[in-house]
Symmetry: C2
Subunit: 201 residues, 2 copies
DNA sequence: CAGATTACAATTTACAAAACTTGTAACCTG
DNA sequence: CAGGTTACAAGTTTTGTAAATTGTAATCTG
């Protein structure tokens, strides 16, 4: 029987939750593995059975955070209505969620930015997941598209100014309407270009 | 007769040149106004007649650096051949110049990045200048385009992942062919979309 | 009197020493 | 023996203090 009364999975989740709270308050450089352990009533060394190091604990926090942020976007993908409209809504919603996160949860957003900068696997999976969602919407909107995944990559690259945490943060000072209008102008041009030579149908 | 034997314009230029050399070696945080002044044989206070502060001296260095970087791109705009091909070459050349600068002049590139982050006027002018060049090439390639400047803004936004210093630096670890291929895929899609409904001519 | 210097206050940086944190291995405990 | 703790070395951060830097105003000088 573990001393904390929690099984391994539960202890891990509690650790991620406590770390997430602390990171939200003070950022990922300043929170201490020792403090998280203290909050759980164990020594800091006990956490290394569950996380390979502080970096892995940070990865887990950001992964958890990204999981939550994916929910509203998945609802749009699974929703009803013309797929092209849903794709526009998807891109706008993603932008809005990121801008809000950057404003309201700056430390967690900065952790996401840092992992993005380091091309950490957590973030690479997140990007791949988003590409899959774009692919799904493109394939539905344009059934004659020969390679929807390649098209999704082009869309992702064209919209990186509206998704990459560094640029989302940098452009927070610009008005919402302006940034959102620019995103839609780019998205519409790219979609029109990608589908210019498709048979009508 | 000034003590240094230089008139005001010459002293200013010499200060920018010395600051540029020092910044190239140690970055903009570590070089000292006092050192630049010493190299010119004046007290540091004498430089404040020409620059409102250290930040203004850094702006002047980056402005000078950007001036030089604009020359090869201006040659493409002024060159001969199909305008659409020149636009592709312009975008590729810009990317290549930036990746090379990031590798070979990391401190000056970092200064450019910092000013970009702060939305400093030097950089805003640079971005506006590039939009003008894109506008020129678009108007030549597509004479029926109703608003080439608006189209240029869309092109700029779609290609921000290949021009913004933060992302250029972040993607340096990716192979050249991949990054360049991605840029061309985005550019081609955007151009095709922007020109989809133009009369043929 | 234009172009400089000197003096100075406020701020920032450099640096050494102390304190803290991270990750690991040996050991403990129920 | 699973799930812990303790001890420890190496590395990092913090703290206090001295030195340096920045920007300004008064003053100087040719």
């Amino acid at each position: 029987m573990p001393r904390t009364g929690l099984n391994a999975g539960e202890l891990k989740e509690r650790a991620v939750a406590v770390a997430s709270e602390r990171m939200a308050v003070m950022g990922c450089d300043k929170f201490r593995v020792t403090d998280v352990a203290g909050a759980l009533g164990v020594s800091h060394a006990a956490l290394y059975a569950h996380f390979s190091g502080k970096a892995a604990l940070i990865d887990a926090v950001v992964d958890d955070w990204l999981d939550h942020s994916r929910v509203p976007l998945a609802e749009i993908v699974a929703g009803e209505g013309p797929a092209q409209e849903r794709l526009r809504l998807w891109a706008l919603t993603r932008l809005r969620l990121k801008r809000e996160a950057a404003r309201k949860e700056p430390h967690l957003f900065a952790a996401f930015d840092l992992l993005s900068h380091r091309l950490r696997e957590v973030v690479l999976h997140h990007i791949a997941h988003q590409r899959l969602e774009i692919t799904t919407l493109l394939a539905e909107a344009y059934p004659a598209l020969p390679d929807p995944e390649h098209a999704a990559k082009v869309v992702q690259a064209a919209l990186v100014g509206y998704s990459h945490p560094k640029l989302v943060a940098e452009y927070l000072c610009l008005p919402d309407e302006e940034v959102e209008g620019n995103l839609l102008a780019v998205l519409d041009a790219v979609l029109k270009g990608l589908t210019a030579e498709l048979p009508q149908g």
